[in-house]
Structures are given as structure tokens and as C-alpha cells.
């Protein structure tokens, strides 16, 4: 194809997106569109998969059967969300194994929030309430993104995510209304998860490198700073309702903007964690790679069994 033909195709492509048409796997697309989507969708899938690890820590120690079944169901959903997203990503011509390799070799990133430890049961509450809350704010606009398979996967993810946040808030509520020690656990979890949750919505608009192009492709509908503000404005009253204090002395209602002003975020910490120096980066990757490698014989055995069954069937047919 000549350069002019490609320019022409690109123009038609941008116009289709502008008209809110969806792009489907076999449609022509600019190489950059494909690459950007593979990057974002696989990061998203990796985050779901790694996100199971901090919560897995508490399954056997959940305080009641009710909490245990809910936590198990939530973690199973996360595995499911990872699988929806991987399969959507594969429609762009990348294989599942390439995607796993990118995660396991450290080439691909996942959400930095999962590199923080879960040290008490209250962390299960804080993760559901704050981390899933922030994720929902990020994900709802993606239900309208331009790439069809991604949008369809996101619709399913968002439908399921709301239970995650509600079960988390319920845990926090129960602890906050419990004994002084239980309330302290809840407050301590909020103290530790609040700032990482704000960081989770991404670097400030001034520092965000992908925003403009992503807005055009509807991979992003609102800027990181807008999403963060939305998260803060909706979460602060929820904390007040259960008598917990947001760990930010500069947090103040701004009557003029009808939203909260908040203190400075420690972006050095964010970049340290992204670069691999968070409290649990190594532990998470070790668990993930370990699960993959130790499961290899199971995958091979299943494949060998399937082939044997197939052969037997063919012999009988003769």
C-alpha cells in the first residue's frame, strides 16, 4: 500500500470512530491502534490476574462462612475478568502465550496497587471499597470504547464489579461499627489504601503520555485528574457515613467547585512502585510465575489426554 492510501484509510478510520462506529477484529486499523489496544487490554487483564493474589492471602482466614464465600466469588470473578480481557486481546492477533510471557518477564505492567501487602482482614474491606471503587470509575467509560471486543468485555466486567465494591464496604462498615479494636483495624486499612487508590487512577494529566490519542480512540473518556476528583467526591461521604477519617489533613470541601480539595499525592512513591520497587512486586511475580510453571505438567497432561481420546475415537471410526 502506498503512503497516500494508508493516509486515506487512516482518515476513514478516524471518521468511523468519530461517528461512534465500533471497530471489529478483522477491520483495517492503524498499527498504532492495534498496539495501543494490546498494551492497554493486556495490562488490564494482567491486573485482574495479579489482583487475585493479595486477596488470596485471606481466603482461609475469612472471619465467617458468609465472608469466605463472598471473597471466593469475588476472586473467581477476577479470574473471569482476566479471561474475558485476554480473549478480547487475542482478537488483535496476539497469542495468550505471548501475553503471559510479557507479564512474566516484566515487560508488561499491571496495576501498581497490587504491589501493596494485605496485612489484616480489614484490607479485604478496603480493597473492595476503594480499589474496586476506583476501578469501576476507570472502567465504566470503557463500556463505550471504540474497539468492539473490549467494549463487550467491559460491559460484562462492570456488571459484576458492583458486588465487589459493596461487599468491601460492608466489611468496613461492620468493622467500623464494631469494638474499638475493630474500628481501629478499619481506620488503619483506610490509612494505608487511600493514597495508593488515588494513585491507581494514573499520573496527573500533565504527566500522562497517552491521554490525547487515547481520548480520540475512546480508550479514555475522561482525564486521570477528572476521574480522581470523581472518586474522591464520591468516597469521602461514604467514609463519613461509617465514621472513618480520610487520612488527608488538607482535604476540604470547596463550595465554589462543589467538590473536595485534597493534599499532594506522593508521586515518587507511585513511580517507585511502577518501576518494581514496591513492597510486594517481587513476591507477586514469584507467585504468578510459580503458579504458571508448576501448572505446566497439568496443562501438558490435559493436552496429552485430549489427544489420546481423539486418537481412540478415530480408531473406532475406522
Amino acid at each position: 500500500m502506498s503512503e497516500e492510501q494508508i493516509k486515506n484509510l487512516e482518515k476513514q478510520f478516524e471518521e468511523r470512530i468519530l461517528r461512534d462506529e465500533k471497530i471489529e477484529p478483522k477491520d483495517w486499523m492503524p498499527e498504532k491502534y492495534r498496539q495501543t489496544h494490546i498494551r492497554q487490554m493486556s495490562q488490564h487483564a494482567h491486573s485482574e490476574v495479579v489482583g487475585m493474589l493479595p486477596e488470596g492471602n485471606w481466603i482461609t482466614r475469612a472471619p465467617s462462612l458468609r465472608r469466605k464465600v463472598a471473597l471466593l466469588a469475588k476472586i473467581q470473578d477476577e479470574a473471569g475478568h482476566g479471561l474475558y480481557l485476554y480473549s478480547a486481546c487475542e482478537t488483535l492477533g496476539v497469542s495468550r502465550n505471548e501475553l503471559y510471557d510479557q507479564l512474566h518477564s516484566g515487560k508488561a505492567k499491571y496495576s501498581s496497587i497490587f504491589n501493596y501487602p494485605t496485612v489484616t482482614w480489614a484490607d479485604m474491606g478496603a480493597i473492595g471499597w476503594l480499589v474496586d471503587g476506583a476501578a469501576i470509575i476507570n472502567q465504566v467509560p470503557l463500556c463505550n470504547t471504540s474497539y468492539g471486543p473490549y467494549a463487550r468485555a467491559m460491559i460484562r466486567v462492570c456488571k459484576e464489579e458492583s458486588f465487589h465494591q459493596r461487599q468491601g464496604y460492608e466489611i468496613m462498615m461492620k468493622l467500623a461499627n464494631g469494638t474499638p479494636e475493630q474500628k481501629e483495624l478499619a481506620q488503619d486499612a483506610l490509612n494505608r489504601w487511600w493514597w495508593p487508590s488515588l494513585m491507581m487512577l494514573g499520573p496527573t494529566d500533565a504527566e500522562s503520555v497517552h491521554t490525547e490519542q487515547s481520548m480520540k480512540w475512546k480508550l479514555k473518556r475522561k482525564s486521570n485528574d477528572d476521574l480522581r476528583q470523581q472518586f474522591i467526591d464520591q468516597t469521602v461521604p461514604q467514609a463519613e457515613l461509617i465514621g472513618l477519617t480520610i487520612p488527608d489533613p488538607d482535604l476540604k470541601w470547596n463550595e465554589e467547585n462543589k467538590s473536595y480539595d485534597f493534599g499532594d499525592i506522593n508521586w515518587d512513591e507511585f513511580w517507585q512502585v511502577v518501576k518494581g520497587h514496591g513492597p510486594c512486586n517481587k513476591e507477586r511475580m514469584k507467585a504468578r510465575v510459580g503458579a504458571w510453571e508448576e501448572g505446566e505438567w497439568v496443562r501438558d497432561a490435559a493436552m496429552a489426554y485430549a489427544e489420546k481420546k481423539q486418537e481412540r475415537k478415530q480408531k473406532q471410526a475406522v
Binding site: 478483522k26 483495517w28 473467581q76 473471569g80 479471561l83 495468550r96 459484576e160 490435559a302
Partner: protein, 95 residues
């Protein structure tokens, strides 16, 4: 050892009797039986279905969007295939 990876399967789910099977997504499995079992866990955790079909992805032949012109445009100028093409007096009811 063989390095054969589990193939990709396309999953179709009937959400309730009376409706058709609809494409839900895909997943990897060693064989059709495992694809069915995995599809149940991945796509029907909340009563989304009463029946599942699995088809190995490589067995699907898809039309090429680049040929959409010759495939689908000929239907566009055949207005006589639609009931509104025919002028009938108002007195004729229910037709």
C-alpha cells in the same frame, strides 16, 4: 516434550429457551469437553445461560470486511424487497 498449547474455542450461550445462542467470547481448553466446563465457569457464573455451544476457533470461516462492498451492497438498491415499496389504497387494511 511437546509444547502444544491448549487451542482457542469460541463460546456461544443460549440465555434462555426461546432465544438463540449468542457469541459470548472465547477461551482456551485442551478439548471440547473441557471447553464446555471452562465456559460454564467463565461465562455463566450468574445464571447467564441454559445451554452452551463450543466451537474450536480455527473451524470458523469469517467473511472479510474488505469485501463488504461486493457482499452486502447489492442488497441496498433492492427496495422492492420491502413491503413499503408497494403503493396500496388506504382502504386496504391489515396487509
Amino acid at each position: 516434550m511437546s509444547k502444544k498449547h491448549w487451542p482457542l474455542w469460541e463460546i456461544f450461550v443460549r440465555s434462555k429457551n426461546g432465544l438463540e445462542h449468542r457469541h459470548f467470547g472465547s477461551l482456551h481448553a485442551a478439548d471440547a469437553e473441557m471447553a464446555l466446563e471452562n465456559a460454564r465457569d467463565v461465562y455463566t457464573r450468574r445464571n447467564e445461560g441454559v445451554s452452551i455451544w463450543v466451537v474450536e476457533s480455527k473451524n470458523i470461516t469469517a467473511s472479510n470486511p474488505e469485501h463488504n462492498g461486493e457482499l452486502f451492497e447489492p442488497a441496498q438498491d433492492k427496495v422492492y424487497r420491502h413491503p413499503t415499496f408497494y403503493d396500496l389504497p388506504d382502504e386496504v387494511k391489515h396487509m
